[in-house]
Symmetry: C3
Subunit: 439 residues, 3 copies
């Protein structure tokens, strides 16, 4: 069967996939998530409407490598009220207002004391920052600096109605088995509250990708991971340690719905196949910006730790920390756009197409160029100043199909997109000029 044809644009890719993904982002956005608790479970429940998510629960207190699963944290209410009883901050307005994992508080205090628990961004006075205190017992509120400056002196009633309890950490996993036992890992963190790009976008795009892949033949198995950052990824790694050697390629996906980038951060190895795939694909016709691995970011930090060193990179539109909306209330439903979500969806589908269809072609007529014209693959009139890319793709495949270059190698060396090289190889195979070096 023709490999390339298996991954031709599907109904999913051509319909209003961007609108559908954005609708899912919009449903996930309001949920108050953290690294444990009901927010994660509600999120996984919504994702389960699209794909068959296996929900895993890891009990509080479980030792995971150097870590311990923390107690489950849930929020009922959180507010600051002034002396008149008016709420100056209320989590009902934005769940960014409460520092993640804040301990319960119910106390009146003067502004001077309250201030030591308030986080703002003086340089961005209109937006609420996002802060957490997962592993150090504390409490706090986040608010717009402009509103913070407007607080009157006096006493405030602080209520943080949160619970810590022995429960569990929750993560979700979708596995689509392939024809071989080799696997591709696609991971998105699920622990952030109302931040649309970081990472409702990643969750939603991966859910639609899983749905799209479910109905196709797959050489590789695909493992989708929706887990809380760091501790969730570590739980999954601990539970799957003996099968990690099956993972040939992986991507962490976050901040995938804005209009920047795309930017790809290479795996720790730096020359993994996934790293080279990213050079050979295009997003809306543009090359992907590449940056080297560094041990900071999302869960590639865990996957690429020296004890695992998996071939996993990080794919984003705008790189984390580089856009002003990052980790603020400005990372909202307007910041992520259907067209960017659709473009990211297509880009990852193209990545998967490379992974699925890469092969080593063999030129069956390697002495000189074969006569392409008589096969309808070459202009009949000669003398033009330039050569179409489609012709160049034929010539590159023929020139490098010596049994030592894969289609991916040929794409990287030629500078042409993998899709153009793969299409040329398929056409040349149909003409009998190229075969399979591994056959």
């Amino acid at each position: 069967m023709n490999e390339a044809a298996r991954f031709a644009p599907s109904a999913e890719a051509t319909a209003d996939i961007g609108g559908e993904i954005h609708a899912l982002v919009s449903r996930l956005f309001p949920i108050c998530r953290s690294i444990t608790g009901e927010g994660v479970r509600r999120t996984l429940a919504i994702l389960s409407e699209h794909v068959d998510v296996a929900v895993r629960e890891v009990p509080s207190g479980t030792r995971v490598f150097d870590w311990t699963v923390p107690q489950e944290w849930n929020v009922r209410a959180a507010s600051i009220r002034d002396a008149s009883g008016k709420a100056v901050v209320d989590i009902a307005a934005s769940n960014l207002h409460l520092v993640g994992y804040s301990e319960p508080v119910a106390r009146r205090m003067p502004l001077s004391e309250l201030r030591t628990h308030i986080h703002t961004l003086p340089d961005q006075p209109e937006v609420i920052p996002y802060r957490t205190s997962y592993y150090s017992r504390d409490w706090g509120f986040c608010m717009a600096h402009r509103e913070y400056l407007a607080l009157d002196d006096g006493d405030y009633d602080v209520v943080i109605d949160t619970t810590f309890s022995d429960g569990s950490l929750t993560y979700g996993e979708v596995f689509l088995p392939g024809e071989t036992d080799r696997e591709v890992l696609l991971s998105a963190h699920i622990c952030h509250p109302s931040l649309a790009n970081d990472n409702c976008s990643g969750l939603a795009v991966l859910a639609f990708l899983a749905r799209a892949l479910a109905g196709r033949r797959r050489r590789f198995g695909y493992r989708f991971l929706f887990a809380p950052g760091t501790i969730g990824a570590l739980c999954w790694l601990a539970a799957n340690e003996e099968r990690l050697s099956r993972i040939d390629h992986g991507l962490v996906v976050s901040c995938i719905g804005d209009g920047g980038g795309p930017v790809y951060k290479r795996s720790r190895r730096g020359d993994a196949t996934i790293d080279r795939v990213m050079e050979a694909i295009r997003c809306d016709g543009r090359k992907i910006a590449m940056i080297d691995f560094s041990p900071f970011g999302y869960d590639e930090r865990q996957f690429c730790s020296p004890g695992f060193d998996l071939p996993v990179g990080l794919l984003q539109r705008s790189a984390f920390g580089t856009f002003p909306e990052y980790h603020t209330s400005a990372d909202d439903l307007d910041f992520v756009r259907p067209e960017h979500l659709a473009s990211s969806f297509r880009m990852i589908m193209d990545i998967i197409e490379v992974i699925e269809t890469d092969r080593i072609p063999l030129n069956l007529s390697p002495k000189g160029e074969p006569q392409l014209g008589k096969r309808g693959l070459y202009a009949t009139t000669g003398g033009h100043k330039t050569t179409p890319d489609v012709t160049m793709a034929y010539l590159w495949v023929l020139n490098l199909a010596d049994g030592r270059h894969s289609l991916l190698d040929i794409a990287c060396r030629s500078g042409l997109p993998f899709s153009a090289i793969a299409a040329a190889a398929t056409r040349l195979e149909a003409c009998g000029l190229v075969g399979d070096a591994q056959a």
Copy 2:
């Protein structure tokens, strides 16, 4: 014998070699060439006045790898006349007017029909383009777009008096044997009609090079090939398949008479000796611009196909397709200049000098620098701010002559021209400071 001295500037190089080459270009220019026919034979006959050309004839219909030698095509006349009998296009004015390999026509037709057979360049309305249709039966005319727009409505008498016949494809070969059985290939395509730079220039420069080399000692054998593009090169490859392994270095030479560049396109291997030679020589004191191999261009496409993968690059002044005169009637005898032809001749002689004289020197006094001053190789007064290149060449040769670096290696690492490094090595050998690592 001193290797460098063997290639000191010869009488050819110092006389008006540019004028002589241009005169040969001028004789070749008017001939109506194609991939077969009398034009190629007349061209080879003129080249034979300068060097001993072996003329090869390959019968029409011969299978050559994936190709078949086409019928021989000859032209007697070709014109378009208006109703009054006035020739609006006539091959007598320029043999670019006729599309190469046009089939015979003798028919009156309206302008509307004629138009579908006319090729022009709307962006360059004053010049005639060059077009061919070798492998697809068709006919056509090329003309200046300005004249095309001036054609009146009405009927035209089209006469194309061409013949297709079982004959042969013709190519020429000059072989100058060397002291060893290793060979250098120098190839220029002979199939283009009246285009001075592309490639009367290549034919003429190679003819003079062959004449200049004929009278010298040669470590390598030199094989000059004057063959029609693609099919001619393939004929030669097929006839010489068993001896291709003798070829250590090769150059395809085209567009070598204009004032641009020079530009060198690397071999498919990318790190062949010829590729490194081009970094170490200079043309009129300037470095050669380098571009990577791509499987489009001239007959390096065939020599570098995966079944042969010969160490052959492409040497040009302006790269094909990049200058406005390319494949138009503006590529005429004014576009190629004697000074550029002479400079290209010297450049290729310098390339050959590197190939002939490269060797691995051995510093016989490797502990510390030897005292160059007492041998007259160093300034007697010390303290100057800068060091002359000639001194730097001595120091580089001494420093790298450890038996692991050739003169070419030393030139590339030092950034000095090979000629300077070779001269320094020769002088150091004369002083007994350097010997031959291979002796």
Copy 3:
């Protein structure tokens, strides 16, 4: 014992080391040095006040590889007087006035003859150039071009009261043994007369470094060489040939007191450890500019000759030949500044710290990141846009501490200074997260 702590800033580094070094430069500056003679001995005597210098004498006429130690040259007086007896040039004013190794002269001569022995810099008319004629018997004076132009016609009395005698070449050596038999070579040329940067600065900085290192534990032995350029270095190489294999790292130090650079010229090997060390250290927070080896400069020419090929680079502030004061009377005590001398001293101490403390760390918790927060190594509040360098250093060490990367490797790959990486490793070791891969 903690390696990093051994090289914590010492009293030397924090006191007014710059002022002390500049005071030593000021004492060395007026001495009339050459490649032999009393000037070198007086210089070594002053250096001996700071460190225990072993003074070596190599008799005139000794064969040293391709060279012969020249006769000892000493100067009593040198002047040019006009007809009125007025000194127009006198070595008492500047010992640059006399060309080094000038032969004795006592003769009246017309200006026309005198002119052929006068060296000036027309482009820098106010300064006296520095010139030598070590190995070719000659004599000459150097003077400011402006004064040269003001010379009246007429006769002049030239007196050069110099002596050539069988004596010796003198060099000094300081050796501080280490715990192992591996050695570090630090070399500064001692043959230049009154040039403050080139190289009173190098001599003085190395003397203070030797003094600072003398009181510390040292893994490596440190060999400081104060030798005349070329012939002095060759004498040392000849005398130490059998022990050169002990040298793991080396630096030639010159022009180390001005405000430019720093610039490091790599060793001939190009990838020696010392070459990589220079990428990982900082000078006043800035990276060191790197240039490739070339066989011209100071005594790295001898150390890096192919018969020795030692891992020795050249460290400077402004690179020789690139600053207008180079080899002129403008290279004076104002051109070198205490703050630059102190900065250079600290930079070389930092280099030595890398050499002494580099090691291969091993992450003892390699599966995922260990939990840094519970060890006080990570911010307790999460969500910030940027990460402090100190955190990045922990993460880089942990990520690359797989037993295949040294601290130096980690510094180079991370782009962080070695000092930051080493401090992070030390802290992680204290926490039990990192051990020694070689233990």
